[in-house]
Subunit: 269 residues, 2 copies
């Protein structure tokens, strides 16, 4: 999900670890129903550090996955991760997903996860990717939506801290409220049979793996991760921001709850 | 869900129709997994106009349901509805759910749907109801959460109009953000094995029955329903409120989406 290392965090090793932890925790929820048949060609547009690539390639061992990213640094991390996982069905290629030079209709399936949120024009990206897909092929898009986050105890400062994340993403040209928009985006790009399935992550203390893996180490960590930018841009005072993050952390206590929704869309060309 | 006729709407016939339409649309999502075995006694605490009672009694034909409400007017409507459905396993009784005179441990199961949101002290209600349940019996609680509503296109005025609903409910002593609190409430009331399962209603134009049944005729209708109170209390200007409602209605268009989450909790005594 969320805060692209490139735009918001910078490529730290720690950030890579966080993104991979996050992917592991949410793997089943987001990816267990993405299985491509042997022999098909899958384009992963925007693979980042390969957090999703490993799952994608592992779940469809007979498929040939081509994973593209604009960042060489990310591609190297992704390639190392895929190799470490012993997977051999992924090819990496550097490129801007809006300007790829593959032959028309050369892929059976397109896969994008946590990519459109970073783009100034997600419509354009979908319009440029569509021609690479064969007629009858599918596109799968997974995105988060920071406006879907709510929690107990509620906290105005925690909500403001999250809004800082949304605003930073917007300043960087992205949209972290994009989950709710997947349906119209795919429809407008000319795909048919668009089906959106929301994946709500609900956390309370009866689900300790999510308390750690999601509330603390994914969402709260992500908000904490933009502290320097928020204070640098004077979006919130230091005291307020830190209290907002502490309030988010508070929702991980025994009597707290946390909800966040990812959106997964599948459509046909 | 939501705006209690007693506190927010007044008991209009039209309101009864809306509540029943709403229940029909959401019946499967909320109730299909509530099935009580033959011979058991179920207490429905706060049955209102019987919108849920019909489903409850129909899904568990061998169970004896005792449905209680504080309002005689509601009870008459509920009784008529249950009779019209040809159901004979429901007994109605007038009473305040915090002051019921049933024998201790005389019920096998407790069922509350869209009730706690209206109470100044939901904790007290659960504490008073607990002793009526036999050890090992279950409690099922279903509530909405207005803070879980988000939509495309987003609209600050629509969000403000929804906030008016939340504020009106709060002024009436209730809490329309209670869904996220079910887990700690049941835990604090001494129930064990508390399991909360959120039920997200996601609406886009590929789901026309929900566009009509939920976005338009349930949620937007509910917000529109508090217009007089909002204007009377000068919570928003007429122009702004009407635009907020129009913006909500706009989310029911072909390129709109709407999300709302109900919470269902089941716990054991």
């Amino acid at each position: 999900m969320t805060s692209d290392p490139e735009y918001v965090h910078g490529y730290s090793e720690r950030e890579n670890v966080r993104l991979v932890d996050q992917a592991t925790t949410l793997t089943h929820l987001l990816h267990s129903d993405t299985l491509y048949p042997p022999g098909c060609r899958v384009l992963e547009a925007g693979c980042g550090v390969g957090a999703q690539t490993v799952t994608l390639a592992r779940n469809s061992p007979g498929a040939a996955v081509v994973s593209v990213d604009i960042s060489d640094v990310s591609l190297r991390a992704a390639s190392a991760r895929v190799a470490a996982a012993g997977l051999t069905n992924v090819t990496f290629q550097q490129g801007d997903i809006c300007r790829l030079h593959f032959a028309a209709e050369s892929f059976d399936h397109l896969f994008l996860c946590f990519v459109l949120e970073h783009l100034a024009s997600p419509s354009e990206a979908l319009a440029r990717l569509g021609p690479l897909l064969r007629p009858g092929g599918t596109i799968t898009v997974i995105e988060g939506d920071h406006g879907s986050a709510y929690f107990h105890p509620d906290s105005a400062l925690a909500r403001r801290a999250i809004q800082c994340l949304v605003d930073l993403q917007a300043r960087a040209g992205g949209n972290s409220l994009i989950g709710r928009r997947l349906y119209p985006l795919l429809l407008a790009a000319g795909f048919r049979s668009v089906r959106v399935s929301p994946r709500l992550v609900y956390v309370d203390s009866s689900r300790p793996e999510l308390v750690e893996g999601f509330t603390r180490n994914t969402f709260t960590a992500m908000v904490r991760g933009v502290r320097a930018q928020v204070l640098g841009a004077e979006m919130m005072s230091e005291v307020d921001f830190d209290q907002g993050v502490a309030d988010l952390d508070r929702t991980a206590a025994t009597d707290g709850t946390f909800s966040y929704t990812f959106f997964k869309a599948i459509a046909v060309k």
